[in-house]
């Protein structure tokens, strides 16, 4: 008796869940997005989300794809470890997402990716640069370059343009992104004849970095390579000035946020970082994106994450269009063949490792603004 009630309930739930699965009743294609909309890396999540949203709105205004509109379901992971896997499974099983877009931070992409791979749902990360992300499986893609390239770019820039010989490295041990970037920077910096004079660690989210900075100062570096995210980076640069460490800091795309200068203020002046894109080095498609974005978000200039979020959605839709279906394996096939796709950040080509081959730009912070310094093409010295 009891058991039959239980079975009945379970059956009812299954039916209910089954009904929900194939997208919305209006025949929309459901695409899931997970991002850090609040918390420590909130500006990354917000920017990539706004870019993605703009792309989806533009596609829907042109009639959607395969004759169906796209419905974007967005989940926030609060910049926390451990949330992403939960929200990704929720979007796949409950909302019936046919593809997942997301995360900027590599650590959190690494949490979501296994779920997508298991369910054979294609996932495109807009901006996770750690190589491990797409190695999770053949359903995981990205529309940005990877850290071996980014690390090489900064190492070459340090030795060739800035003529540096002694550099200290300060790594966030909690972040896969930071550890990866530091490793590749150290390799290429040593190859081009430089010396890493001190290696120190910190924990992302710490507030006091003076102990490490004092040791770094004692090793007399000409610059410090700091592959962190913007909040920690800004605090570190402020404290560096307080212990009298007056050398340039170099970093990666994790720096690019207006919060960097808001928190770091004048302590950020003169420092350099590498990133994916700048509105100044734009193509016609890039210029149109900047204009549309400003119109949509009341005059805000898009940053890298916004442009990559935009491109991730465009690339996905292009693959769905070519596949002629939303079925996971077919979309995956087409994603793997994307070549010279023209987006906001320039041309995207997906290579054999499901990573994008792209150029990088180096920026400098001057007068509280990010200024374009140099572009590095992938052919020049990509591994």
């Amino acid at each position: 008796m009891n058991r039959s009630i239980l079975l009945g309930t379970v059956a009812a739930f299954c039916l209910f869940a089954g009904c929900q699965k194939p997208g919305g009743a209006d025949g929309a294609i459901v695409v899931g997005e997970f991002a850090s909309l609040t918390g420590k890396e909130a500006t990354f999540g917000m920017s990539s989300h706004e870019g993605t949203q703009l792309a989806v709105e533009q596609i829907n205004a042109e009639g959607g794809v395969l004759g169906r509109p796209i419905k974007l379901v967005t989940e926030d992971n609060q910049s926390k470890a451990g949330e992403s896997a939960t929200v990704v499974s929720k979007m796949i099983s409950r909302d019936g997402a046919v593809a997942i877009l997301g995360e900027v931070a590599s650590s959190r992409s690494l949490e979501g990716a296994p779920i997508c791979q298991e369910n054979r749902v294609p996932m495109i990360s807009p901006a996770s640069t750690n190589p491990k992300v797409t190695r999770i499986g053949n359903y995981i893609f990205r529309v940005c370059f990877i850290d071996p390239f980014q690390g090489t770019v900064m190492a070459n820039f340090a030795t060739q343009k800035l003529k540096l010989r002694r550099v200290a490295v300060l790594t966030d041990v909690k972040s896969d992104y930071s550890k990866g970037l530091a490793k590749f920077f150290e390799q290429s910096f040593a190859e081009s004849g430089g010396e890493v004079c001190a290696r120190l660690d910190f924990n992302g989210g710490d507030k006091d970095f003076k102990a490490q900075l004092t040791t770094i100062k004692g090793s007399n570096p000409e610059a410090v390579f700091l592959p962190g995210y913007y909040t920690d980076t800004a605090l570190i640069c402020r404290q560096a000035k307080e212990v009298g460490l007056e050398v340039p800091f170099l970093g990666g795309d994790g720096w690019e946020s207006e919060e960097l200068v808001k928190i770091g203020k004048e302590a950020m002046e003169g420092h350099y970082f590498s990133t994916h894109y700048t509105p100044e080095a734009g193509s016609p498609k890039g210029a149109k994106f900047v204009e549309d974005y400003k119109k949509r978000y009341s005059g805000k200039t898009p940053d890298t994450m916004a442009a990559l979020g935009f491109d991730s959605a465009l690339v996905l839709v292009e693959a769905i269009r070519q596949a002629g279906t939303t079925e996971g394996s077919a979309v995956r096939e087409k994603l793997a063949q994307i070549k010279d796709f023209e987006g906001a950040t320039g041309r995207t080509t997906i290579n054999g490792d499901r990573d994008a081959t792209k150029s990088a730009v180096v920026m400098q912070i001057k007068g509280g603004k990010f200024q374009y310094v140099d572009t590095v093409k992938p052919q020049s010295k990509a591994p």
Binding site: T38, G39, K40, A42, Q78, S79, V173, A198, R199, L200, D201, F202, N203, G205, D206, K207, D208, K210, A211, Q212, T214, T215, K217, G218, T231, A234, L235, R238, Q239, K241, E242, V243, G244, E259, K262, I263, G264, K265
Partner: protein, 299 residues
């Protein structure tokens, strides 16, 4: 030399927080886990009042720092006494464990309540510059103003507290309540007043530490109190919980350990493991803490 200054400043902050833990414990035999969150509230109070005070005292001046610290301390003293009144007083005669769990609840409520966008939001905010930026050069070390101020403040407050506890009527009442609540009440001590006062005082100490910590580390968020709170709590235990000088000694010890280990290349990430490992050793040798004496009365 530079590391000595860093360690002294960090240790003095831990000492300030540890003083708050130890005060409340001394009187009530109870660990106020929400203490770390009062530190966070103090920092936010400073964040909001400092811009308003800046025109009066001038940007980045000692007067501004003093006024900000004072107002934050007053605000937090109120909040601390309020928490005691609402959350702990109704449980005064319940088992100690009940109050302890309530304290953890209050702490989590404050941490995650404040993360709500309508309160403070989860993002890190830059703390305003309260002291002149230029450093002092001293025996080959570069010392920021705040690193000079912090040890002096801690030292001053330690002496002030000692005077309060040993030389005033309120201090005598606190010692009496600590010794035996019922007997104290029979002797005409108003227990509730004494306990509220203790909480207010402890919370004000947390606020002072919160503002100074933020001036030094310059970024504040609703979860900022957790790590220093934990370390300061350990500092209070190592020094001998309930003992004021012990709290300061423990704080300085932990700050120094953290700074020296944190500055060693290769092991900088294990600094907490190493400093806490040393704590275990100290407690094995002296179970009641460095200055704690078993069964000797203290406040």
């Amino acid at each position: 030399m530079q590391q000595l200054v860093n360690g002294l400043a960090l240790g003095s902050i831990y000492a300030l927080i540890a003083l708050g833990y130890t005060m409340v414990y001394g009187v009530l035999r109870f660990i106020n886990f929400a203490h770390a969150d009062l530190l966070m509230l103090g920092a936010y109070a400073g964040y909001f009042v400092a811009p308003a005070l800046a025109p009066v005292f001038g940007e980045a001046s000692y007067g501004l720092l003093a006024a900000t610290v004072f107002l934050a301390a007053v605000a937090c003293a109120g909040v601390g006494a309020g928490i005691e009144y609402l959350a702990y007083r109704p449980l005064r005669n319940r088992p100690k464990l009940t109050v302890l769990i309530t304290a953890i609840g209050v702490s989590l409520l404050m941490e995650f309540g404040c993360q709500h966008p309508a309160v403070f939001g989860a993002k890190t905010r830059p703390f305003p510059q309260l002291l002149p930026a230029e450093q002092i050069h001293f025996l080959g070390a570069t010392v920021s103003r705040v690193d000079m101020v912090i040890p002096l403040v801690t030292c001053g407050l330690l002496m002030g507290l000692w005077w309060l506890v040993q030389r005033t009527r309120m201090g005598m009442a606190m010692r009496a309540v600590s010794f035996n609540q019922q007997a104290a009440a029979l002797m005409g001590v108003n227990n509730n007043r004494v306990i509220s006062f203790t909480f207010a005082l402890g919370s004000a100490l947390a606020a002072v530490a919160g503002v100074l910590y933020s001036v030094r580390a310059s970024g504040i968020d609703p979860l900022m109190g957790i790590r220093p709170g934990l370390i300061a709590f350990s500092a209070a235990v190592v020094g001998g919980i309930g003992d004021l000088a012990g709290a300061v000694l423990g704080g300085l010890l932990l700050g120094m350990l953290e700074t020296y280990v944190g500055g060693l290349p290769g092991v900088s990430n294990y600094r907490d493991a190493i400093s806490f490992g040393m704590l275990v050793v100290i407690l094995l040798v002296r179970p009641s803490g460095l200055l704690g004496r078993a069964q000797v009365e203290k406040v």
